[in-house]
């Protein structure tokens, strides 16, 4: 069995990592020059003057992909406990996963048929 103390190394790694990043950013902030000019602070656009705000609307497809990911990833997370335990269940576990995956594939064919992944 695992106890909360087993997860202590993660806290340690977190402290080490944030300490390292803070330290390097702070030191290089002191080391580097600080000369800010009007042109230097402009968003980079390959030399031409920057046009309008950069935070513009973008294709909805990216959002759709993210939503699909959430749905499918949850189904894949369900497979982890099954993968650890299925040897005790034998053929029964296999049939269960067969049913689960066929439901999964029905949803998958649905999104393909609806053209969720068609890009213009």
């Amino acid at each position: 069995m695992s106890t909360p103390a087993d997860y202590l190394p993660i806290a340690m790694m977190f402290v080490v990592a944030s300490g390292f990043v803070l330290f390097t950013i702070f030191v290089t902030h002191l080391l580097g020059p600080r000369r800010k000019t009007e042109v230097k602070l402009e968003p980079f656009e390959c030399g031409i003057e920057s046009q309008e705000n950069a935070r513009m609307p973008f294709s909805i497809k990216y959002f759709l992909v993210a939503i699909l990911f959430v749905l499918f990833d949850v189904e894949i997370i369900f497979m982890y406990p099954w993968a650890v335990n299925f040897k005790d269940m034998g053929m029964f576990g296999f049939v269960e996963m067969l049913i689960f995956l066929s439901l999964f594939l029905v949803g998958f064919t649905y999104i393909i048929r609806r053209g969720a992944l068609k890009w213009e």
Binding site: P9, G32, F72
Partner: protein, 336 residues
């Protein structure tokens, strides 16, 4: 007190490993690229250019870190933190040699697939906060790409978990004492391995899937506006990520630090044991890193819709069916 001292030593070792890996991998990338294009690569600083990356790092340390006008200051500065911390947390459960592991936990593989998804948050933060069109485009593409390929990477990890019946990394390595899974598992494991390599190449934003940075169209993608140490942190995190995913690949399919063993050839196995386990681990990992660098000069870059089609229409169904195949293999005992 002893525990605290242990923490300090382990922390210092981690940071040291980070720095060395960063330097070595960047140099390796430049040398490999050079030899594939029949040129010499860096050869001025130090013997055969070995100190080139050290000189580059010193230069980056002394540069000004700019925050462009219009950028969201807080998120802009937070992004490199998230990238670096996410990567450093991934280092904890990796065994570098026999018994040389910072954190041996029963959910090792699950932990790795959970924490490695933090990378996408840092990229989206960086792209959104920069107030730069290139950054935003790069971040959006990269977000869609990384989350998509996480599915098939997860499924190929599950394939090995099915064979081993454990999520613990030391159990997975121990199960390969009589042969690595890539040899024991036949066709389904080969399919899982190929899917895994493709998926992690995409997850680490490497060519041919480097749409997040695509130099020729987006200048530098999501980190266009970063300079100085903040840029260096992104760069370092990217290379350490490559090392980590290749280490995971080596652990799952090539037995991590486990020497090359064949079933019941006692004498042969004994001889193989003479090679230190750390040499095996780093040898396999660096071989996989070399393969990923090789991809970069072999395949042209994909377009974003081709990239998502490859994942959703080919890799995902293939790896789902492959999990079923592996389950059959495991139940019927077809592996050795």
């Amino acid at each position: 007190m002893a525990l605290f001292l242990e923490f300090v030593i382990a922390g210092l070792l981690c940071i040291g490993l980070f720095a060395i890996l960063g330097l070595v991998l960047v140099l390796m990338e430049r040398k490999v690229s050079a030899y594939m294009q029949i040129r010499l690569g860096p050869n001025r600083v130090g013997p055969k250019g070995a100190l080139q990356t050290l000189a580059d790092t010193l230069k980056l340390l002394s540069k000004e870190g700019l925050t462009p006008r219009g950028a969201d200051r807080f998120l802009f500065n937070l992004a490199p933190f998230v990238a670096m911390i996410g990567t450093m947390l991934l280092l904890a459960p990796i065994p570098f040699a026999k018994g040389f592991q910072l954190w041996d936990i029963n959910i090792g593989v699950l932990y790795i697939s959970a924490v490695s998804s933090l990378a996408v948050i840092s990229i989206l933060l960086a792209g959104w906060a920069s107030n730069n069109k290139y950054s935003l485009l790069g971040a959006m593409r990269s977000g869609a790409q990384i989350v998509s390929y996480e599915l098939s990477a997860g499924l190929s990890i599950i394939a090995i978990v099915v064979l081993t019946g454990s999520l613990s990394i030391s159990d997975i390595i121990a199960s390969q004492a009589d042969g690595w899974w890539i040899f024991k598992g036949h066709l389904p494991v080969w399919i899982a391995f190929v899917t895994f390599i493709i998926a992690v190449t995409a997850e680490t934003n490497r060519a041919p899937f480097d749409l997040a940075e695509a130099e020729s169209e987006l200048t530098a993608g999501f980190h266009t506006e970063y300079s100085g140490m903040k840029f260096a942190l992104f760069f370092l995190a990217e290379y350490i990520n490559i090392f980590i995913v290749c280490a995971i690949g080596a652990i799952l399919f090539f037995g991590g630090w486990m020497p090359f063993h064949i079933g019941n050839w006692e004498g042969f196995n004994r001889i193989m044991d003479y090679i230190p386990s750390s040499v095996w681990f780093f040898g396999k990992t660096f071989f996989l890193i070399f393969v990923i660098m090789w991809f970069r000069w072999t395949f042209p870059r994909l377009r974003i819709d081709q990239l998502l089609n490859l994942e959703w229409k080919y890799l995902l169904p293939i790896s789902m069916v492959n999990v079923l195949l592996i389950t059959l293999v495991a139940i019927l005992g077809w592996h050795f």
